[in-house]
Symmetry: C2
Subunit: 181 residues, 2 copies
C-alpha cells in the first residue's frame, strides 16, 4: 500500500469532523489550513478517488435536485490511517518559498528607492495575508481550540514579517537621509 501525501491526510483530517463533498473540502481548506497547506481542485478530486480506492473514505452519491453531488465520509481504516499519521514521529515537511525575500537578498545592486519598493511589496503581501487570516478568526473560534491556536500562530507570523519590513524600511530611509547630508 502506497503511503499517503500530506494533502490526502489533510483531507482525512477534515473528514474526521464531518462528511463533505470535494467542493466543501476545498472551501474548508481555504478557511482554515490554507495559509500553511494549500490545495486545489486539481489535487482534491483525484486524491479523494485514491483515498476511496484505498478504502480510507466512502463515497456516497447525494444529489441536490438535478445537481449531482458526492459526499465523502471517513472509514474506520481512514481513522486508523489518520491516527497513525498524527502520532508518527518521523520527519515532517517544512518548506518556505518567499520570492520577495529572495529579491531583498539580492538588493545590493539596487538603488535605495528600488529596495524600498521591494520591501513595501513584501509588507503589503503580508498585510493582505494578515487581513485574510483575521477574516476567518470568527470561524476558527467556533471550531475547536486547535484551529484557533493555529490561526493565532499564523497571525503572529504575519505580524512578525510586517514588523521586520517596517524596520527595514525605517533603516533604509535613515541610511538614505544620512547619505544626503
Amino acid at each position: 500500500m502506497e503511503s499517503l501525501t500530506p494533502t490526502a491526510r489533510a483531507l482525512l483530517g477534515l473528514l474526521h469532523n464531518r462528511a463533505r463533498t470535494g467542493y466543501e473540502l476545498k472551501a474548508s481548506i481555504d478557511k482554515s489550513v490554507r495559509f500553511f497547506w494549500a490545495a486545489s481542485y486539481g489535487q482534491i478530486y483525484p486524491e479523494l478517488k485514491r483515498l476511496e480506492e484505498a478504502g480510507l473514505v466512502r463515497a456516497t452519491d447525494d444529489p441536490r435536485g438535478g445537481r449531482r453531488r458526492t459526499v465523502y465520509e471517513i472509514t474506520a481504516d481512514g481513522e486508523a490511517a489518520l491516527r497513525a499519521w498524527l502520532t508518527d514521529e518521523s520527519a515532517t515537511t517544512f518548506e518556505l518559498r518567499d520570492e520577495a525575500l529572495l529579491k531583498f537578498f539580492f538588493a545590493s545592486s539596487l538603488k535605495p528607492d528600488e529596495t524600498l519598493a521591494v520591501i513595501r511589496a513584501k509588507r503589503r503581501q503580508h498585510e493582505e495575508r494578515l487581513a485574510a487570516l483575521r477574516a476567518i478568526e470568527d470561524d476558527a473560534k467556533e471550531a475547536d481550540g486547535f484551529a484557533y491556536r493555529t490561526l493565532k500562530y499564523g497571525i503572529g507570523l504575519q505580524e512578525y514579517a510586517i514588523a521586520w519590513c517596517r524596520d527595514q524600511e525605517r533603516e533604509l530611509q535613515a541610511g538614505a537621509a544620512e547619505t544626503q547630508r
Copy 2:
C-alpha cells in the same frame, strides 16, 4: 522568450557577485537562501543550460587537472534580466508548507501527551533550523548587509515558532494538570 523561474533568477542573483560552477552555486544556496528558497542539483544544472541557451549566462570550461569543470558567469543580458525581475512589482510567490502545523491543527482527536509529542517535534525542527542559520551567521556577516538582514529575519522567524511551541506546551501541561485535580 519564456520567462524565468524564480530559481533561475536566484542563480542569476548569485552569479551577479561572481562566476561559479553548478556545484558552487548549490553550496552557495545552501549557505544563504536555502531556508526560504531551496534548490537541488536536479534543478540547478538543467536551469543553467536553459540560462545559457537564453544568453543570460556564459559557460566556460575551466578544468582543474583531469576534472572537468564549467564556470558560469552572468552576461549583460543576464544582468538586465536580473534587474528587471528585482524591480518588477508584480506578485511574488509566497508559500508555506508545514506538515507539523497540519498535525497540530487536527490534534483534537489526540490525547494530551500525543499532542505534546506533535508540538515537541515541531519545536525540535525549528531548533534545528535555527542552529543551521546560526551556523552560517559569520558567512552572512562577511557578505553584504542584505544577506545578513535576511538571515536575521530567518532567525527571528524560527525564534517566533519556537516560542509559540513552548507556549503551547505550557498550556497543554497546565490543562492536563487541571484535569487531574
